[in-house]
């Protein structure tokens, strides 16, 4: 436990408070008033999204680690008038760093990406990621061309960055340092998740 926390606190992000992922997810969901789509990445990221209160516009990704941002990009391209949020873990993002430059190149105005960074693969036993003590998610993102990338200093700053992204002229990435406290699990029925999501996006009509 002490090793785990020292890993989390030794990440290069400076002047950023270690926050709670479920609290941050709840704060995000509370600010969504316009049927915004939210893509929750694999593991605790979508467990938190489920626990924060199910919405028809939530998609809970149960497999395909690393694809929350690409899936969200697809939704954002298909529905350019809808705001799309994506929640992803730092370990997941490491699997698909290339997507950041793809998103920067396409530059969808309606996409906000949130990276939950605790420096560990929490769900598999909290092993440190290979980036934990050396890499800075925001520096990587900025280097990939996502100029609207920032660490949230604390909860209020997180809310401010979320609000700012709603009227941004390009994609936004918000990184948050989080603790390692999980909250539960998402009900796992992928076809139902997908069908509800498509209903929530207005692509399917209810029977």
């Amino acid at each position: 436990m002490s090793d785990r926390m020292s890993t989390a606190t030794s990440t290069p992000a400076r002047n950023t408070k270690v926050m709670n992922r479920f609290d941050l997810t709840s704060r995000l969901v509370a600010r969504l008033k316009n049927e915004e789509a939210v893509i929750g990445g694999i593991g605790n990221t979508n467990f938190d999204l489920w626990a924060a209160g199910h919405r028809p516009q939530n998609f809970y990704m149960l497999g395909s680690m690393g694809l929350a941002f690409p899936i969200a990009l697809g939704v954002a391209l298909a529905q350019p008038t809808r705001r799309v949020f994506a929640l992803e873990g730092d370990g997941s993002l490491l699997m698909q760093l290339g997507c950041l430059s793809t998103i920067a190149t396409l530059s969808p105005k309606n996409l906000t990406m949130i990276v939950m960074d605790n420096g560990v693969y929490q769900i598999t036993g909290a092993q440190p990621t290979p980036a934990a003590t050396v890499a800075d998610v925001v520096a990587i993102s900025t280097g990939c061309g996502l100029t609207n990338s920032a660490w949230a200093a604390d909860e209020e700053d997180f809310e401010r960055l979320v609000d700012q992204s709603l009227s941004a002229s390009g994609p936004t990435l918000i990184a948050v340092r989080i603790d390692d406290k999980p909250v539960g699990a998402t009900r796992r029925d992928p076809v139902q998740i997908r069908e509800r999501f498509m209903l929530g996006l207005g692509v399917r009509q209810a029977l």
């Binding site: 998609f59 497999g63 690393g66 694809l67 899936i71 391209l77 529905q79 290339g98 793809t102």
Partner: protein, 116 residues
């Protein structure tokens, strides 16, 4: 392209290059989103898709990234297809099993097509 020899294709298709057939088939089926990781044999198709304003097309860093994008777009009501080479297809085992098969989204994959 199973019918690379043209034996079983309709008359109109036999007079066209394979990449024209693919492009027109994508259009006829309202498939607008075409992310790709290029292959040399796909060069003409990619060039023509870029030149046609009907399509939204762009390269991705990896093939599974492209599959994620078209899966998201399909759930959002936009059809897509991914272009890749066979070695790229070989990297897709996990995403096909844990995203495409899991949520039962339709996916069209094109293997390597050979010029006659």
């Amino acid at each position: 392209m199973a019918a690379a020899d043209g034996q079983n294709l309709p008359q109109a298709f036999q007079e066209k290059a394979w990449h024209e057939v693919v492009l027109q088939t994508l259009k006829r089926n309202e498939i607008r989103l075409v992310p790709y990781v290029p292959d040399r044999v796909l060069t003409t198709l990619i060039k023509n898709i870029h030149a046609d304003p009907f399509f939204t097309t762009f390269p991705t860093a990896r093939e599974e990234e492209a599959v994620g994008i078209v899966s998201g777009a399909w759930m959002g009501g936009m059809r897509g297809a991914v272009l890749m080479q066979t070695s790229g297809f070989a990297t897709l085992a996990n995403v096909l099993a844990s995203l495409v098969a899991l949520i039962l989204s339709p996916l069209l994959t094109g293997g390597k097509a050979f010029e006659k």
